[in-house]
């Protein structure tokens, strides 16, 4: 149960990222240091805004790829969950059949 909790929390946590990625940033949080970070520019969102369609398209690409990853992970978790339920049902069914068989005179050795 704890593991499921951790997993669900993690999946929810990572969904925060694309949501934050779409919200306007109040102020630049990183600055390019002269000399040490040449060739890199702080992400102040202005770089996207003046680029018009290309900026919009790149944001869409980021959102699409991040959303796909989490859909894939959630689909995998859901699939494991359903298969676990099936295995548990089959185990319960087998236990029931064994119990019934052991209660029937002359059936098997009862070693299972």
């Amino acid at each position: 149960m704890k593991r499921w909790f951790v997993l669900a929390l993690l999946a929810a946590a990572l969904h925060v990222a694309p949501a934050l990625a779409q919200s306007p940033s109040p102020a630049p949080t990183a600055t390019a240091k002269p000399g040490s970070s040449e060739g890199w520019v702080a992400d102040d969102r202005a770089a996207n805004m003046h680029m018009g369609d290309q900026g919009f398209q790149s944001t869409t690409m980021v959102t699409a790829s991040y959303a796909f990853i989490w859909l894939a992970v959630l689909a995998f978790v859901a699939s494991v969950w359903m298969r676990s339920g099936k295995v548990e049902r089959e185990m319960a069914e087998l236990a029931e059949r064994i119990r019934r068989a052991e209660g029937t005179p002359g059936s098997g050795t009862g070693k299972a």
């Binding site: 704890k2 593991r3 499921w4 951790v6 997993l7 929390l9 993690l10 929810a12 946590a13 990572l14 925060v16 990222a17 934050l20 990625a21 940033s25 949080t29 990183a30 390019a32 040490s36 970070s37 060739g39 890199w40 520019v41 702080a42 992400d43 770089a47 996207n48 680029m51 290309q54 900026g55 790149s58 944001t59 690409m61 980021v62 699409a64 790829s65 991040y66 796909f68 990853i69 894939a72 992970v73 995998f76 978790v77 494991v80 298969r83 676990s84 295995v87 548990e88 185990m91 087998l94 059949r97 064994i98 019934r100 068989a101 059936s107 098997g108 050795t109 009862g110 070693k111 299972a112």
Partner: protein, 237 residues
């Protein structure tokens, strides 16, 4: 055993908290690359890098877990090895699919096209993914004894993985060379965000592997119980 379980839970929860609070902000704060004219051709799409590379890392990790489990099964008939291999193969398919989807989304912005059949990295990644899809089909529909054939496929995949990784060094065409391992390949702010994201995905990978292995072990116990009950004649009633 219980203190170890509690410790795992604590570590998992702390990792989740770190991911929730730090990773999104780190990715937002990380700088984007610009060319000599001060233009950012990739703009925001460059940030796909922060999850494209970690998902690729998880896929490679899974290939080697699958191969290790398969070797243990082939050499020692280890059922735990087989469970790990089966679980890891599924995760190669999941994370591999993420790589194959996020890569072209990035490529469309950088190269102007979704895919290039002449790029060895791209094609060998697709072959690697298809190998593990084949592994799953063999395990699902192969019938009794299919584990050995599937283990062979896993070993083939393990040979393909290094070829895929080193392809950009030998046959460099479109896909960028490794910027993560190259000194100065990333600005320090980018490196911080990237390695945090890498750690978060690695934690997620191990959680997914653990729940999938647990399912596979339960399935093995169910099969054993079925066989034992059948041999004891308990299922004839």
């Amino acid at each position: 055993m219980r203190p170890l379980k509690n410790l795992s839970f604590l570590v998992g929860t702390l990792a989740v908290a770190a991911v929730m609070l730090v990773v999104p902000r780190m990715i937002l704060a990380a700088p984007v690359p610009m060319d000599t004219n001060g233009v950012t051709p990739m703009a925001y799409a460059q940030k796909i890098f922060y999850f494209h590379v970690p998902t690729a890392w998880c896929a490679y990790l899974s290939v080697f877990f699958c191969a290790g489990g398969s070797i243990a099964h082939l050499m020692k008939r280890s059922r735990a090895g087989l469970a790990i291999a089966t679980a890891a193969a599924e995760l190669v398919v999941v994370f591999g699919l993420c790589v194959l989807v996020t890569g072209p989304l990035w490529g469309r912005m950088q190269w102007g096209r979704w895919w290039d059949w002449t790029d060895v990295r791209l094609v060998s990644t697709l072959i690697l993914w298809m190998t593990f899809v084949a592994y799953m089909f063999v395990r699902r529909y192969g019938g009794p004894g299919s584990e050995k054939l599937a283990s062979g496929l896993a070993l083939f995949g393990a040979v393909d993985a290094p070829i895929t990784y080193f392809a950009v060094f030998f046959w460099n065409k479109l896909h960028p060379q490794a910027t993560v391992v190259r000194r100065g390949g990333m600005a320090p702010e980018m490196a911080k965000a990237f390695f945090l994201s890498l750690a978060a995905f690695t934690v997620l990978y191990f959680l997914l592997l653990a729940i999938r292995v647990r399912l596979e072990r339960a399935r093995q116990r169910l099969d054993d119980a079925h066989l034992a009950a059948d041999e004891a004649g308990l299922l004839d009633v």
